[in-house]
């Protein structure tokens, strides 16, 4: 598999003469064979036109990512946000148990994320090529480097914190631990949001028309999933509930803005299977947990816990569905030849 598919042509001169002769042969054959009777047009349903393009073939290639990539968007987003929660819970000293679990969640995500990326590439050694160069203009490059910094610092922070709790840490190690925790939180915020930049800076219309929203959207989604998972772990924390409230409000706003904008490029988010997935993901991320959390304020303690747990589960499921919805919408969008030929307004007019 790793053999070069192409072979170099460093043969002796007579061999290269032979090759040139072969090209001449193809040329002459083509000249002779070109005189062919034209076929009958009967039964031809598709045709080429300025409106529909070349036999309605897609102009763009659809994303060739396997399901590992949307899973990675979810996993990396959750881990990054969890590192932010861990650092701030730790610094404010409000909840050491919560900080510990958030660190663990971030560390697990920091290990699973590169594993998912490697699985998509098919070969571990291929992943190493990501670190040949650093290219600022490639979000894939910036993201890979950030993920590496994130994973290693998060693992270090989790390890040193556990050590400190069990035994105790000498001062230099405590400084190291704080530094690792800080870097983990800062890179975590980038890991949560850069996937939105990555998807937005492409030729796929439904993605690039949302280039400004996607990073905010993905960050909110990751935050919601991280908070939700920690609540499901049994943390009944008002801070996590506040995070749940803020993110579900943000996700509702994203949903409303998608529904209201009249850009033809957004069609895959509103109709067909990708549209349904988007709406289901949006409902579980936005309105449903928002309502449940608002209801929980007036409820008795037992019911309050229950409502918040359902809201948390809904947000996690919504976040996962949202990542798959956007990936799927990209595949649908790549096939929209009329849109690419005529821009949003004409394509819209043509469909009605």
């Amino acid at each position: 598999m790793s053999e070069p598919r192409q072979q170099k042509s460093d043969g002796p001169t007579n061999l290269s003469d032979l090759r040139e002769a072969r090209l001449e042969e193809i040329r002459q054959h083509a000249q002779r064979a070109a005189l062919q009777p034209a076929p009958k047009l009967d039964g031809l349903t598709l045709h080429a036109s300025p409106e529909t393009g070349y036999y309605e073939m897609p102009i763009l290639k659809k994303p060739q990512w396997k399901s590992e990539i949307p899973l990675y968007f979810f996993c990396g987003g959750t881990a990054g946000a969890s590192a932010v929660i861990a650092a701030i819970a730790g610094i404010t000293g409000s909840d050491e148990r919560l900080a510990r679990d958030a660190r663990a969640l971030a560390a697990i995500g920091g290990i699973v994320s590169p594993a998912l990326l490697i699985a998509d590439l098919g070969m571990p050694s291929r992943f190493l090529n990501m670190f040949r160069v650093f290219k600022f203009q490639s979000p894939m490059s910036v993201g890979s480097w950030t993920l590496m910094a994130f994973s290693s610092n998060t693992a270090a922070a989790a390890f040193l914190s556990t050590w400190q709790q069990r035994f105790s840490l000498a001062k230099p190690f405590r400084i190291l631990q704080t530094a690792a925790q800080l870097i983990s939180a800062l890179t975590g915020a980038v890991v949560s949001s850069y996937t939105g930049v990555l998807v937005g800076a492409t030729a796929i219309p439904v993605w690039n028309q949302n280039a400004a929203i996607l990073p905010l959207h993905f960050a909110a989604s990751g935050m919601a999933a991280a908070g939700g998972l920690l609540e499901l772990r049994g943390h009944n924390s008002p801070a996590l509930n506040a995070i749940g409230l803020i993110t579900s409000l943000g996700e509702s706003a994203v949903g409303v803005s998608i529904e209201l904008r009249k850009n033809h490029a957004l069609k895959p988010l509103k109709s067909g299977s990708s549209g349904w997935l988007t709406r289901i993901g949006g409902f579980f991320s936005g309105p449903l947990p928002l309502i449940l959390r608002l209801l929980s304020f007036g409820a008795a303690s037992n019911r309050k816990k229950k409502l918040r747990k359902i809201a948390a589960a809904s947000a996690v499921a919504g976040s996962l569905a949202t990542r798959f919805a956007w990936t799927h919408a990209g595949s649908v969008s790549a096939k929209d030849t009329p849109l690419l030929l005529h821009g949003a307004s004409n394509a819209l007019a043509q469909k009605h």
């Binding site: 070069p4 598919r5 192409q6 072979q7 042509s9 072969r22 193809i26 040329r27 054959h29 083509a30 000249q31 062919q36 034209a38 076929p39 598709l46 045709h47 036109s49 300025p50 070349y54 036999y55 073939m57 763009l60 290639k61 060739q64 932010v84 819970a89 409000s94 909840d95 998509d120 590439l121 291929r126 090529n129 990501m130 160069v133 490639s138 490059s141 890979s144 800062l186 915020a189 980038v190 949001s193 930049v197 937005g200 800076a201 030729a203 280039a211 400004a212 929203i213 996607l214 990073p215 905010l216 909110a220 935050m223 008002p238 801070a239 506040a242 995070i243 790549a334 690419l340 030929l341």
Partner: protein
């Protein structure tokens, strides 16, 4: 160093596919199979990891004297498509490994030993050219016969084209030649000939330009290709705001929670 280019003149193309065959033979590209797409005599459909030249077969109405071999037959429009070797290439910018490079001839070349198959170039190409070979795991596209050019030879497709529909040479010379050819065709009564050369887009021109009759959209040539790096500023601004909000919102949640 001179910037080399292709000028593909579809008014001269006879649809013989010698370019497709020569490309496959020279570059040892796997076959596409002889399954007809159902769209005219097209068996390859579009450019892809194993199709680096693709002859498009556009069937027009019956136009006596044009195309076809008899007056009753409909007229043909053929155009041999290829990687545009963009001035601002989406694939090259997006590539995280540095596998995709600009050659000394101005072409865009994928180094197969460096490509790791991340697939980001696939969604970054505004022309839908580069594609990942799912079996091999890496992305492939036209090399502009970089190996042949280095030996002072013309690309295989241009060498075999029996009608000189595919011309190879210096970009500026070919642009001038294209304008001359269009003038000539117009004087012969072909009012609908056009040059496809998207210089006014963010792609800033391509090193593969085309003369076509009628709307280039018929040949799936996008009128306004954009290099996706134009969306980076918006994206990173949003990511910076998102990161700030994540930290601020979490801080707010924990401080507020402590007071409550």
């Amino acid at each position: 160093m001179t910037v080399t280019a292709f000028l593909t003149d579809s008014t001269l193309c006879i649809g013989c596919k010698a370019c497709e065959v020569a490309c496959k033979e020279w570059n040892q590209v796997p076959g596409d199979g002889f399954i007809w797409s159902g769209n005219s005599y097209d068996n390859t459909g579009a450019l892809g990891h194993s199709t680096w030249r693709h002859v498009k077969f556009v069937e027009n109405g019956v136009t006596p004297g044009l195309g076809g071999n008899s007056p009753e037959a409909f007229s043909w429009g053929f155009s041999s498509d290829v990687c545009k070797h963009c001035e601002n290439a989406g694939c090259l910018e997006a590539c995280p490994t540095g596998a995709i490079v600009r050659t000394e001839f101005g072409g865009v070349f994928v180094q197969p030993d460096v490509c790791n198959g991340c697939g980001y170039c696939v969604v970054a190409c505004p022309f839908g050219v580069i594609e990942k070979d799912e079996q091999d795991g890496r992305a492939f596209k036209c090399t502009f016969c970089y190996d042949r050019q280095r030996d002072g030879l013309h690309p295989a497709c241009a060498s075999v084209c029996p009608t000189e529909s595919i011309k190879f040479g210096n970009l500026d010379d070919l642009r001038a030649e294209a304008h001359g050819r269009i003038e000539k065709l117009k004087s012969m009564g072909f009012d609908d000939v056009q040059l496809y050369d998207p210089v006014d887009s963010s792609v800033a021109g391509t090193h593969a330009i085309f003369i076509v009759r009628g709307d280039p959209g018929t040949y799936n040539m996008p009128p306004k290709p954009e290099v996706p790096t134009i969306y980076l500023r918006k994206g990173w601004t949003s990511a910076a705001i998102a990161s700030g909000l994540m930290l601020a919102a979490t801080l707010f949640a924990f401080l507020g929670g402590r007071r409550a």
